[in-house]
Symmetry: C2
Subunit: 235 residues, 2 copies
């Protein structure tokens, strides 16, 4: 009886922190979306909103860390419970980094809106960002529902983001070779593409955590990556 | 007096865990080195050793997590102490992932040693791995010495790894176009290059943690990445 009581108190604590994680995830998803939108529509006001909004994300991470520490101190969880509470710390760290990348994307809106647009560059970035945003949503759903299958879907989906990045990389190269006046803008666009790809890596890390939590095993890492596919397409 | 006593007890606990981190780091460095060596010298026995050695790395992570949780439960650290103890959890997670990548590199030794060698492919990968190994050593030194400057060096150094990856990517493309019989081997080599690049990303994460611990600020993320440079070189 005593044990059960302690267990469900831990569960309630964990659920409360997970609610904070979902709140943080929602803010980060909005940052990705608005960051990419501000870039594509040259909306400097929206970009400013994204930049300023990053503080709330950082504060949530702090709060989640403190809360997780409080639960560890109070409940002294071990084994699976410990893994669960540590996952909260790691996932919030991933979210914080994704938020930083979104902020950096927004930062470039100001620079790029004063340059001639490069074909559909920002549109392509926005589609790539939308893909990452969807992956993040799925990864967090998989986390809350302890759904390893959905998490594996997210991990495999990261290939698409890598593929989009590789395609954009080649596209920007072409634009630069076609017209050297495109070089500066393309460098910014390429930087943003790389940042979105990194967001995808962090989302993958979250999904990997979910697989580990549910199955007790790290997902196999020698899944074929999109880069392969693109190499074959080129070869 | 009581406060000071508690503080130094925490410091001793932290130092003990940090010693475990350094031990784990040493194992991971050896895995990177031996994994790349086994690949370059087609030493399947050494590759097997690396694969099997990954278990010890995983076990160290578990041990570090449990120890960190014990310290949190016992000392209820807040503010800076809490950040310090959480960094231990995050850094050991990064090390564990790097170890996985090294294991996967070793796994390919068996496959690649039965294929015709592709120019200096494995030699180039070994040099790239050596770079990452050095970065990891510096990142862990920066961590133990709380040296934000050295950590920033590591972060900036990640460009070199990205640059090596980009150069290899183009080289493998060329080999594949020159002779389609190279395609399978090049796909494996490219996969390994990508894995080494990811190791670099995790080392960068460790270095970023150090900067955050020492300065209280996350390093600026809009540092120019190597990909830019390579784009310019191409453009």
């Amino acid at each position: 009886m005593q044990d059960q009581h302690i267990a469900s108190a831990f569960d309630r604590d964990l659920e409360a922190i997970q609610a904070q994680i979902m709140k943080m995830g929602g803010l980060v998803e909005a940052s990705i979306r608005d960051g990419a939108l501000s870039l594509d529509t040259r909306d400097e006001e929206l970009a400013e909103k994204v930049r300023k909004g990053d503080r709330a994300i950082d504060e949530l991470e702090e709060m989640i860390n403190e809360e997780a520490a409080r639960v560890i101190a109070l409940r002294a969880p071990t084994a699976r419970d410990l893994r669960l509470i540590l996952s909260v710390i790691k996932i919030s760290a991933n979210l914080e980094r994704i938020g930083d990348y979104a902020k950096n994307m927004a930062k470039r809106t100001g620079v790029l809106s004063h340059m001639a647009p490069v074909d559909d560059g920002t549109g392509a970035l926005r589609r790539m960002a939308r893909e990452v945003e969807r992956m993040l949503k799925d990864a967090l759903d998989a986390y809350v529902q302890r759904d390893a299958e959905l998490a594996m879907d997210v991990i495999n989906h990261d290939r698409d983001v890598d593929q989009m990045y590789n395609a954009l990389f080649r596209e920007f190269l072409t634009f630069m070779m076609e017209d050297p006046r495109n070089i500066t803008a393309c460098m910014h666009l390429h930087f943003i593409a790389k940042n979105i790809e990194r967001m995808g890596d962090h989302v993958t890390s979250i999904a990997e955590q979910v697989v580990y939590l549910v199955t007790g095993e790290h997902p196999e890492d020698d899944r074929p990556k999109a880069d392969k596919t693109s190499l074959v397409a080129e070869g």
